[in-house]
Symmetry: D2
Subunit: 272 residues, 4 copies
Amino acid sequence: MPDYPTALGASTPDTITLLGRDLAADVMGEVGFGELAFWLATQRRPAPGEVRVFEAVLAALADHGFTPTAIVTRLTYLSAPDSVQGALAAGLLGGGSRFLGVTEDCGRFLHDVVAGRDPLPCDDADWDELALETVRARRAAKQLIPGLGHHVHKDGDPRTPRLFEIAAEEGLVGPHLSLFAAIGRVHPAVLGRTLPLNGAGVCGAALADLGLPLELLRGFALLARTAGLIGQLAEELRRPVANEIFLSVDLNNRSIPPVPFTDAGTDGGTHG
Amino acid sequence: MPDYPTALGASTPDTITLLGRDLAADVMGEVGFGELAFWLATQRRPAPGEVRVFEAVLAALADHGFTPTAIVTRLTYLSAPDSVQGALAAGLLGGGSRFLGVTEDCGRFLHDVVAGRDPLPCDDADWDELALETVRARRAAKQLIPGLGHHVHKDGDPRTPRLFEIAAEEGLVGPHLSLFAAIGRVHPAVLGRTLPLNGAGVCGAALADLGLPLELLRGFALLARTAGLIGQLAEELRRPVANEIFLSVDLNNRSIPPVPFTDAGTDGGTHG
Amino acid sequence: MPDYPTALGASTPDTITLLGRDLAADVMGEVGFGELAFWLATQRRPAPGEVRVFEAVLAALADHGFTPTAIVTRLTYLSAPDSVQGALAAGLLGGGSRFLGVTEDCGRFLHDVVAGRDPLPCDDADWDELALETVRARRAAKQLIPGLGHHVHKDGDPRTPRLFEIAAEEGLVGPHLSLFAAIGRVHPAVLGRTLPLNGAGVCGAALADLGLPLELLRGFALLARTAGLIGQLAEELRRPVANEIFLSVDLNNRSIPPVPFTDAGTDGGTHG
Amino acid sequence: MPDYPTALGASTPDTITLLGRDLAADVMGEVGFGELAFWLATQRRPAPGEVRVFEAVLAALADHGFTPTAIVTRLTYLSAPDSVQGALAAGLLGGGSRFLGVTEDCGRFLHDVVAGRDPLPCDDADWDELALETVRARRAAKQLIPGLGHHVHKDGDPRTPRLFEIAAEEGLVGPHLSLFAAIGRVHPAVLGRTLPLNGAGVCGAALADLGLPLELLRGFALLARTAGLIGQLAEELRRPVANEIFLSVDLNNRSIPPVPFTDAGTDGGTHG
């Protein structure tokens, strides 16, 4: 028989362990939820400072009001109120490249620059040099820089300086955040205009500095969003708007003629 | 134009607020993730003791090893590694009546008994009386009691006494937990055998005592599970087993004749 | 090793079979898609008349314009254009009790009445008698009758007489459709007003008469809707509206104060 | 108020139209399901030959036995039997780059080669020349050729010649199929070995020749698979295996020690 090992949850008739600890005695009541999520993802118990940075990232990404994901969860719950899991899953499915992807894209982009670089820059001037080279190369390749620019917070995303501050307080500014900060300083000279470092991007940098798996950075944005979507459902229960949103679209439903075509099959369908 | 109010996330070019607070200044770095999830769901900031009970529940439900939801997430990631959101959503879709539903069912069941009862029982003897009446009524109606019994932990689920203990430490044993405990004491006299109060059930009782919306109790189980599924994906990245699981099913694929039938359409399909 | 039999798809290096037939030689080019879907669900090849009724049902359920499911699919595609599977899955998740459930509810309801009844009524007068008894019993139990009534087509759903007509042409009016028709005739005398037999309901009756599994009647509505949602995505590609829908909700986003509360935790969060 | 036009489904109290036709009179009973799916996606009614090729593609992709998607749907139904929509959606979420993506990748790849080429090759020798150039360019760029090779059908995928045959019978061999066939003829000379043209690839070529939107080729594979997954659920109802699959994984669950780590947070978690 095949044998599938796991270091996560396991149980016998008398015991339940999680990550090799006694779940009841050593995890419940002792480990916060953000801490546990970090631990599950890395199989390494984080230090309190790491938990604080991690939870700051989750807070930054939890809810942004009526995003498409929030609307989707509310509409799905309207249609299928018997399935909370379906409403949450539907909302998470919008967590792809465009809306929640910046966090992952930015973390990976920064990692591609710093990975394997030895020694790493050791002061701001060195980071600025590396950042300058990086921004120039992206510009030459006509590629955008992930994490740079925001359609609303044009003069600065308030989450960005705050996350730098928290990471600095905890001694957790690593190479990804350092490079991201340097990009913020040097890009105007190359691009000819000043763009903000956005919140999703700085979150990606911070998660990468925490050593979380790059393939799953989007997953942490989704974990944060799950809490936000539950908040959306709770608000929908107290103050429903999904039906009104639906009707605002549907009542405007004006039938238009289909696109012009040569009706090749007019004379006979399959059952004609 | 319609107008959709929300008290969750909101932003202007200069500010981002969440739950009416300044996200960067007052939430990031100040509010833990479990605390934030509670706050989003209730629009009420929980006290530290409430957070501790809530996070103990989330820990209890986060991961149980190779459950169907864990296998589903790993197999979906194997098939579509470009979509972490799809792998997580697929896993959550198993969070229905059978595997994750006990938490919600138990919370609702207890609530149906205590809701509107005034005054509530004020000591164990009174709770035992109410519990006895409740268990007898379910038995007479040939209905199971949610949260009672476990297929593995037949002599006691270790999470149950621990969660009662934590709730007691925090002064948060309310009517739902009280009734659940009483059911644990009195059911043997009615049912003729002793069954354990299971962990999913006690979690539902604790969440209901915290005042979380009953309609969304399953949602908190899903939030906990999201963290667990990210852990499953992280482990899959380090030590893949999904392909082996798939092959263990598929290599056994033995084609069998379809069920016997009268082939009414043998002489002509739609394109015959 | 365990051994999982299936009569559906199977392959060897040289052959591919589906439902026990040679896929390339006997299915491709020979079996229409509606016919194949029926065959997969029943493991019985349907007669041409059965295919015609089945496909009429699928046509009736494929698309109803800007339903919540259609909006959800378009918004999810807007957010995550890299994942067509996510956009379709999100739309299908709205296919629950409220919007797509009538088909299944009606089929099951009719089945509960006729199942095991031997002999079945043999003429309209007998069916009317059974229908009268059924409608009275539901009314006495204060239960609605699935498939009766429509919020838009108050004077009659055009799909209903047409599906009866097609079933009659194919000699496929069985007990479920017969009872449903009788309910249409007798309910005004009991309820004191005339309600239309709706299209979703008659589809459920027709699917039940075709012998399709009752547990999966909702599945056929979802199959039909999958085709509709692909149509929605195709139209979105040619003439996008999802971003405009999103903005019509979000631009109206007016931050409101959270619900009043006693801020039990003001003095200290988990990181205070 | 915004105004969202659609040419798909629309209704008034008295009428229901689909694609500008009267749904009851002109679509139900007159239009097959494959035909309707094509029509919805293109807003052009297909000719009977186009329907036959399209439905042959859907048949080729509907079910391949115990694929990960099939296992996922069965396991999700085991966990949450109340939500057929969740079980189907979970299965579809595996329809990503690896398992169902070849159809789309191959169609796009062929399209990139032939798009804008004027005049197109007009005989096999010309197609072979273009194919040779294409295969050489991919090899030089160290890129695989989508649709070439199969892990089981190493000596030929039986679906491929059959789909070419059907397309030829219907006069629907266009540039995509022509180029794909030429790649099959010329690649051994470049690659030094003979690989089969696989079924998923030829389906992508055929769908592209039918003028279906390239962005949605994966969507048609998902439509086909939806029918297959309903078949899987129907079989699961009659002959359940999901619980046995689950247990074959879980009973092998052998707890292993977590990966070694420096337990930075041993001395105090967030609630320590």
